[in-house]
């Protein structure tokens, strides 16, 4: 099961911000992806959400636009673009809720063959204080990924 991303993306000059439009059951909804530097050198936090009224960024919004696979494919594409410019950076991410983190795990599992060709994929697992190489059906709390070759 593969999904194509949305094909029109906008980005800031430094690629810290990406935006695209989800078009589905509830019309067009602006989506934003940001990469924030964490306190850990070389690690950037990916945060994803909707742009609501007054341009407010909402990471908890549930748009139910019927295109979540396409939206996740677009987020993956943005990560691919970002890490092609910054190949040494680690990207850390988790969902804004446990359900969303589970959704990310499922999406990564389905596309693991393709994703693992380009990325090292690690997971934070409850009760462990070291990142584990990601495996399907692992109970993941957060992800940490990086380009394989740089």
């Amino acid at each position: 099961m593969r999904h194509e991303p949305y094909t029109n993306l906008k980005a800031s000059e430094d690629f810290q911000v990406f935006e695209f439009e989800s078009v589905g059951l509830h019309g067009a909804i602006r989506k934003r992806i940001i990469f924030l530097p964490t306190k850990k050198s070389g690690v950037y936090s990916l945060v994803f959400g909707d742009i609501g009224e007054n341009s407010a960024f909402d990471i908890y919004a549930t748009s139910d636009n019927g295109d979540h696979n396409k939206v996740l494919a677009t987020v993956a594409k943005a990560v691919e673009i970002y890490t092609s410019r910054y190949p040494k950076r680690w990207i850390h991410f988790s969902g804004s809720t446990r359900e969303r983190t589970r959704l990310y795990r499922m999406a990564i599992s389905i596309n693991l063959g393709e994703l693992s060709e380009k990325f090292e994929i690690y997971a934070e697992v409850s009760g462990r204080n070291e990142f584990q190489a990601f495996k399907k059906s692992m109970p993941v709390e957060a992800f940490l990924i990086r380009r394989k070759k740089f």
């Binding site: 593969r2 999904h3 194509e4 991303p5 949305y6 094909t7 029109n8 993306l9 906008k10 980005a11 800031s12 000059e13 430094d14 810290q16 911000v17 990406f18 935006e19 934003r32 940001i34 990469f35 924030l36 964490t38 306190k39 850990k40 070389g42 690690v43 936090s45 945060v47 959400g49 960024f57 990471i59 494919a73 993956a76 594409k77 691919e80 673009i81 680690w90 850390h92 991410f93 988790s94 804004s96 596309n111 393709e114 994703l115 380009k118 090292e120 690690y122 934070e124 204080n129 070291e130 990142f131 190489a133 709390e141 957060a142 940490l144």
Partner: protein, 54 residues
């Protein structure tokens, strides 16, 4: 008679062609103010981990 069948080969997610437009308005956004709770969570999670993978 030769039957031709069109097969669509998926390029996948990462190799899909997209149009990327650089938007200077996005460069003006102060990203640190956008999701401080999510950044704090990431820092907490990273602090708990011994080290990054080798």
């Amino acid at each position: 008679m030769i039957m031709k069948k069109r097969i669509r080969i998926s390029k996948g997610i990462l190799n899909a062609k997209v149009t990327l437009t650089i938007d200077k308005e996005l460069s003006k956004i102060d990203v640190k103010t956008l999701a401080p709770e999510k950044l704090a969570e990431a820092n907490r999670r990273l602090d708990r981990m011994k080290s990054l993978p080798k």
